[in-house]
């Protein structure tokens, strides 16, 4: 018990969303809609509910019955399609929104990075924004002052540190913002998609920094669509699908589950003869099964000899070169493969 820092017990979150009904063509319908919606707004007001635009209102569960526990020092990836409930979960964890049902226990201070540069003010200089953003993320002024040089160094914008941020390029803005966030200290870090900033060199630096954080014994929850980054940073991952926790286990298995759900026939997750599967990462092994090289993005095989119908259909064959190449993450048809360990 003492080791569990986040325990989620049947967490659920409900939203109310409005719809426009289809029959809006007629004049009569248009005339009726106004008073009817006004009436509904008045009823909402009296009952203390929020006003939702639209002709009909539907309740929508963004998260439902989510159970998990995370131990101190664990780095956990959170993956899932757009709208699967990842961000809703992070917002509940960061106390931005409240769960509709269930119970969540958190031990320790949570720092959440749902975007970089939260609260940056365009009129203020880079220097001023470092202090402002630091305070918003929960750093004390003394803490920011102590790490100020480091932050400026990391961002690489020291020359423009006294220029208003509105004059910055998008990249400079993002780098300064990430630099502040990267120097945040908390027991639990909740990070959402913040890696997608800057040029590739800066992205690599961000990834390095994140793995430093993850390896420093802090608890990290990391949401990303960048599967390679999730695999590099975390050993365990939660996969969300339509508001439900769909898989909880080793990252490798989670990623293959996720990719399977992404591919067309998302209903069949049972690998086997003739089924679709997706290769997400691969390790090239030598003759004694010793790992030789790990690939996360694309594989190329140099083929010496091969019968044409033995090639998985989506391997592209470069003409006359004897090389097969494919991007990982695309569906793959295998002749035969054992069912995966459910984790």
């Amino acid at each position: 018990m003492s080791d569990v820092v986040i325990r989620s017990d049947k967490i659920g979150k409900k939203f109310r969303i409005g719809h426009r009904t289809a029959d809006q063509g007629s004049f009569r319908e248009a005339m009726l809609r106004g008073p009817r919606n006004l009436l509904r707004g008045a009823v909402d007001l009296i009952q203390g509910r929020s006003v939702v635009a639209g002709d009909s209102v539907e309740e929508f569960w963004a998260l439902k019955d989510v159970d998990f526990a995370i131990r101190r020092g664990e780095a956990v990836g959170v993956i899932g399609r757009n709208g699967a409930g990842k961000t809703t979960l992070l917002k509940i964890l960061s106390r931005i929104i409240e769960p509709t049902e269930g119970r969540l226990e958190i031990t320790g201070r949570v720092a959440s990075l749902l975007e970089v540069g939260t609260g940056f003010h365009p009129e203020l200089s880079g220097r001023e924004n470092i202090f402002l953003n630091g305070a918003i993320l929960g750093m004390s002024r003394a803490e920011v002052r102590r790490r100020f040089e480091e932050i400026v160094d990391f961002s690489g914008v020291e020359k423009f540190i006294d220029t208003p941020v509105k004059r910055y390029s998008v990249g400079m803005h993002a780098r300064l913002a990430f630099a502040v966030a990267a120097h945040l200290e908390a027991e639990i870090m909740v990070i959402d998609e913040v890696l997608a900033v800057g040029d590739s060199e800066f992205q690599a630096r961000c990834l390095d920094r994140m793995s430093e954080v993850a390896n420093a014994g802090r608890t990290v929850l990391f949401v990303s669509h960048n599967l390679a980054a999730v695999m590099a940073l975390t050993k365990r991952a939660l996969v969300f699908n339509a508001g439900h926790l769909f898989f909880d286990g080793p990252t490798e298995a989670a990623v293959s589950h996720y990719s399977a759900s992404l591919s067309k026939g998302s209903s069949d997750r049972n690998w086997g003869r003739g089924r679709n599967a997706t290769l997400v990462s691969a390790t090239v092994v030598d003759a004694d099964d010793r790992p030789d090289h790990r690939v996360d993005n694309a594989v190329r095989f140099v083929v010496d000899a091969c019968s044409p119908d033995g090639i998985p259909y989506n391997f592209k064959q470069s003409a006359g070169q004897g090389t097969l190449a494919m991007r990982l993450g695309t569906p793959l048809r295998f002749a035969a493969l054992p069912a995966p360990d459910p984790g």
Partner: protein, 281 residues
Amino acid sequence: MTSPSSDPPRTLVLEAGRADLQYWRDLWRYRELFLILAWRDVAVRYKQTVIGLAWAFIRPFMTMVVFTVVFGKIAKLPTEGAAPYAVMVFAGLLPWTLFASILNDASTSIVGSFSLISKVYFPRLIVPLSTVLVAVIDFLVSLVILAGLMLWYGVVPGWQILLLPVFVMLTLVCSIGPALWAAAVLVKYRDFRFIVPFVTQIGLYISPVGFSGKIVPEQWSLLYSLNPMVGIIDGFRWCILGGSSPIDGPGFALGMGVIVVLLWWGIRSFRRSERAFADLI
């Protein structure tokens, strides 16, 4: 390693509708954010203006001139005791402007900080409270104008001026209640974006700002004191004009009662709706 992170880890329980016992402690922990948000608003306020801080002097000064001309010269309303009409108006304008700017700024502050509220946790009370600090800074600038006016007209304040800070505090308390309530309901119902400026505009004329509260007939004065700003403006005039403007005891007590109720009501409704801000905004 610093003050926020050196606290021993505590277990926080998040549940629907759970009253958060650590709220007030959190509020104290985030005091630096409160200061920095106020500083940001002040720092940004006069950026890219030509005359900058001079706007803080011009606005209240011009209002005072207009009121003095309209109420004192044209309508020929009586001043209080022997005090110059301009000083009497300005003594009423000070607390009213403080009240109105807090109500206006704080009520829109939550919706205006949308990007913060949907991305970071902090006690939401910090946002409207930081606008209070900004209004207080404007108020301090106006005090300089008052000093200039008193010097110009040769008004010498009595010992009562020492109690002015008490009345400033009362003005703050009086504004925070309605401001918090308005900020909370404005998140849900944006109608209040139009209602609040309307209220402060009307309030300027039904509160004794441009005229003396003493011209209200005796039998109505207690009813009139239900407007909490009546007692506060009387108090300001009593401090600044000295003995020539006595405070009406029962009316003042009634006003204070209203202030306490408004404050309680404001904090309560804010705290109740606060947890849903990010959902509604």
